[in-house]
Structures are given as C-alpha cells and as structure tokens.
C-alpha cells in the first residue's frame, strides 16, 4: 500500500516514521525542509505538493492543528487523488467540521475517515496510540493495516464524525481528570500529607486511573514539559464546549475544566504540559508553600 502523510509535526513525524518502519512506501510533503529531512533519511519520498503526494498514494493521512488546515489539505488531496483514494485525517477537529469535509470529499470521489488519536507524543513514538475512527467500514478495513503501524487500540466508532465525537469524549475525561488529580495532590500536600504516598495508595482503588498514574507522577516530579501542551488541550475543550452549546447539552464539569485551561493559557503556561494545572491551583491558593 502506498501511503501519503501530511503534517510532520510533534505527532505526525513519529507516526509517519512508524509507517516506514512497518514497510509501507511513504510519500510526504512539507513546507519546511527541516520537517522533511528525518523522513527522507528513513526512505520516504518527498513531493512538491500535497496533490502530488495524493497522486502517488492509495491512502493519505494528515495530522494538522485545526479544521481550517484540514479543509485545506482535503481540498489539495482531492485535486490529486486517484479513484478510490482514502483520506484519513488524524487531527482533532469539531465533529461537525469533519462531517462537512467528508461530505464535500465524497462528492469528489474521495472517501474520508476521521481518525483522531490519544496517547500524546510518547504514544506516537512508541506506536501505541489509541485511534478512534469515524467513516465507512470498507475504507476502515482498507486503512487498518496502516493504523496498526501507528497505534495499539484501534476502534471504528461509527459513521463520519464519530471518531471526533469519541475524541471529544476523551478530552472531557482527560480535561476533567487532570484537574481532579491536580486538586487531589495539592489537597494532600496542603494537608501536610505526602502526595506521593497518596497517589500510590489511590492507584490500587476505584480512583486509580491512567491519568493519576502518568500525569500524577509528572506532577510529583514537577515535570511540566510537554507531552500534550496546555494550549492544545484548551483548543480541544473549546471544541467540546462549542458542541455542547450547539446541541443544548449541559457539561458542567467540563465547562469548569475549560476555564482552568483558559487560565493556564492566559497566565503564560500554554506551552507547558496540561499537568501545569497543579501550578495554577497552587498559585490560586497562595503559592506552592
């Protein structure tokens, strides 16, 4: 299978490299030569435009910041696509935007999957991402071997947009979860109890979670390096809250969490990992004591 990959950033680069490692022919395009170099070195073929990448590929992946960029890539893919090409976008965008782009592409003979991921840069490098897919079953079956080169848990959730709905649910859980873990550890510390021991004890019970395990550990180490940048989580919470508004759906817990991410970005911690939530709570209550 010939693969195209657009968006060779923090997440996209290791994902594309894993596709090469699995033996797929990989076609790439990027604005900056620096983004292309590691892929070239791994045997990927660089092209002069996205349309040229599409013309050489059976499946094109993209991993870009937001909906306008996805729309742009989708347009260029359709310009170069051979009949039967599948376009799998792995960015996180609004479900409504994913549905709209998919239907526009369908009219031009390109099948689209929305396939956002969870697992961060670590998961992208290790090839252990969780991939949530929306779109036609047949296209999913076609792309599955390539998904398997990038991720471990791959689920077709439903029709177009369903992958983005699942990702929004994922962001509700992680957005609220990271705030809850930061509050709990800050509470323990302010109560003069060792937060590391609290974490240790809780991991065995019903409050045990991946977030308590991973994010909790990084909070204890005061390691705020991304990971997953707070401003990106803020963007994703914005998508969630817009959907809730559109649907007339109350998400009270997510709403507060979204405000905490606003505060993180507003106080200059947008480039930190989301675990910087801990610093925010410390500051709110008079510092890290």
């Amino acid at each position: 299978m010939n693969i195209g990959f657009i968006g060779l950033g923090l997440m996209g680069r290791p994902m594309a490299l894993n596709l090469r490692k699995a033996g797929f022919a990989v076609n790439v395009w990027a604005r900056r030569e620096a983004s292309l170099a590691p892929l070239r070195a791994a045997g990927a073929v660089a092209h002069g435009s996205i349309a040229e990448v599409a013309a050489a590929s059976d499946v094109v992946f993209s991993c870009v910041p937001d909906a306008p960029q996805v729309a742009e890539v989708a347009q260029a893919v359709a310009d170069g696509a051979r009949a039967g090409l599948v376009y799998a976008d792995m960015s996180t965008i609004a479900p409504a935007a994913a549905r709209e782009i998919a239907s526009r592409l369908k009219a031009r003979g390109v099948v689209m999957l929305d396939a956002p991921v969870s697992g961060g840069e670590v998961g992208a490098i290790a090839g252990t991402l969780t991939i949530m897919v929306g779109g036609e079953q047949a296209a999913f079956d076609t792309v599955l071997p390539a998904f398997e080169a990038m991720g471990k848990s791959i689920t077709r959730v439903g029709e177009a947009g369903a992958g983005q709905v699942a990702k929004a649910c994922n962001q509700i859980l992680t957005g609220v979860g990271v705030a809850a873990v930061a509050e709990a550890l800050n509470f323990a510390r302010k109560s003069a109890v060792d937060p590391a021991r609290v974490r240790e004890a809780l991991l065995g019970g019903f409050a045990g979670s991946r977030i308590l395990e991973n994010h909790g550990q990084r909070m204890l180490e005061r390691n705020f390096k991304p990971g997953f940048k707070a401003w990106m989580h803020q963007k994703d919470m914005g998508i969630v809250m817009d959907e809730a508004h559109r649907l007339g759906l109350a998400l009270p817990a997510a709403a507060v969490s979204a405000q905490l991410f606003n505060a993180l970005v507003g106080s200059g911690m947008g480039e930190d990992d989301s675990v910087a939530m801990l610093k925010l709570f410390e500051t709110m209550s008079g510092g890290a004591a």
Binding site: Q234, A250, N262, L264
Partner: protein, 290 residues
C-alpha cells in the same frame, strides 16, 4: 435627521416609534415586509433594500439578532455598505461579537462611513419606556454627532472606548445579569427545598445587601412561575456563546459564567428557548427530581 431603521422586532418597533415621535424622518427596511406595516401606517418610508435605506439616511440604526445577521446586512450585494455615502453613520444596537464589530468598523472606515456598536440593556420594557442603558464603542466624535438620536432611546449613554468596546461592555452585562438570575434561582430552590415560602424570602432579601433588579424582576417571575413574558432565554444562550468564545480566545478564566452557560444549555434542551431566563429555576428543579 434622516434616519434608517432595521430590525423591527419586539424592541426595534418601540425604538423606531420613539424616533418618529421625536420628529426624525424615518425610513425602514425589513426581511418580512409585513413587520413594517404598522410603522408605515404611522408615516415611515419603506425602502426596498438595505442599500436604498443607507443611501437616503444620515444615520442607520440596526437592532437584529446575531453577528451573522449584522454582517449580512452590511456586506450583502445590496447591503448597507453598498448604499452609504461618506460621512453617514451605522449604529448597530444588536448584541454581537466584539470581533465582528471591529471588522465591520474597519470595512466602513475604508469608505469614510462611521460605525458605532451601541448594544443596550433594559429589555423590551426599557425600549418601550425609552430608558435603555446604551454602551457605545467607536469614535467619540461620531458618538457626539448621533448622541441626540440615542438620547431619544435611552437614559444612560456611556462611551466605553474604540469600536468593539460597547460589545465588550454588553458581554460583561450579560455575564453579571444571567449569573444573578442563576443565583436567584438557586436561592429560590434552596428556600423551597426547606419548605420555606419563597415569596417571603424574596421580599425580605430585596431590602438587604442581596437585593437587586434581577431578584426583583426575575425573582417575581420565579415566585409566580410565570416564565412566558420577558426575554427569550435563547437570546441569553446566544450571548453566552459570544462571551465564552472571547474568554477562550483571550485565555481569561470565567468559572462561574461557564457553569451558568451549562445551565442555559440544559434549559435549551428542556425546550425553554422561548421562556424567560427565570426558567433556569426549572433546570434546578429537574436536577433535584432526576
């Protein structure tokens, strides 16, 4: 003064009528011609398009629902921008996003047309009684030029700052007001849960530090369970999307507003879009019996 008016809804009708009664030469345009019938009967001139209205007016006032409505009104092929002569002024009194107001002000400036964003607070009653609070963004000199016109419509006219600043003030107004409605509803809900007479609680509180216009007006609607008059909750719901988008864009945390927004979302889901926002009380009641 030759004034054009667009947006003959609940509030716009009263406002347009005040302008005519103050002796201004009023023309109107409306999407549905029927909505202008009453005013035409009272002497207002009908124009076939926003452009035609703009061409004959020194000042055009608009009072419509959403950012997209104002944008279309200005930028469509036969829109206001196409009709205005240099020196004319568009005063938009709708509640829209500050960003939209700034963009439209810039488009007009290229053509030498003035812009004010002048959203109001006071509701249909304030429009009827010409007691609206008007918060203005835009050039101070332009405001001075149209101040006599605004004085016909409202009592308190405050220049907040440059274009968009009026809408920022309005967003702050909506945030405080709807949060106060939610707080009033929660107080009513707590009183009722205790089996205490909510009317007496309201009456007592009005005399003290928690007394407010919201507790007075919306509180009364909660006590009498009359949610059919007042301001459609869907309009506040729309306003919250604007102000929460601003908070997101600026990285400003609004934790209380965020929860109030969710209660509004729930009210929409329960079919309360056209009820008064005092119906936020019913969301709390539903949460208690769930």
């Amino acid at each position: 003064m030759k004034i054009g008016f667009i947006g003959l809804g609940d509030m716009g009708q009263s406002m347009a009528r005040h302008l005519m009664q103050a002796g201004h030469d009023l023309a109107v345009w409306a999407r549905r011609e029927a909505s202008a019938e009453a005013l035409r009967g009272e002497g207002a001139t009908w124009c076939a398009s926003p452009a035609e209205l703009a061409a004959r007016s020194e000042v055009v006032i608009s009072m419509v629902t959403a950012s997209a409505d104002v944008e279309a009104l200005v930028l469509r092929d036969d829109g206001l921008l196409a009709g205005f002569a240099a020196g004319a002024v568009h005063v938009d009194m709708s509640t829209i996003a500050p960003g939209t107001a700034r963009q439209l002000a810039a488009r007009y400036a290229e053509r030498g047309v003035g812009w004010l964003d002048a959203p109001v607070s006071g509701g249909p009653a304030g429009a009827r009684e010409a007691t609206l609070a008007i918060m203005v963004g835009g050039d101070a000199a332009i405001l001075e030029k149209v101040r006599p016109v605004l004085e016909v419509l409202g009592r308190r006219i405050v220049h907040i700052g440059a274009a968009g600043a009026g809408q920022v003030a309005k967003a702050c107004n909506q945030m405080i007001m709807v949060a106060a409605i939610e707080a009033s509803a929660e107080a009513m809900s707590l009183a009722a849960a205790n089996g205490v007479d909510v009317a007496k609680v309201r009456a007592a509180l009005l005399g003290g530090s928690a007394g407010s216009r919201v507790l007075e007006v919306m509180g009364e609607r909660m006590v009498s369970r009359d949610f059919d008059k007042g301001v459609d909750a869907r309009l506040h719901h729309k306003d919250f999307a604007i102000l929460m988008a601003e908070a997101h864009a600026l990285g400003a945390p609004l934790p209380v507003a965020a929860v109030v927004w969710q209660q509004l979302n729930a009210l929409m889901a329960r079919g309360g879009a056209r009820q008064d926002t005092a119906a936020l009380l019913t969301v709390l009641e539903a949460m208690r019996t769930a």
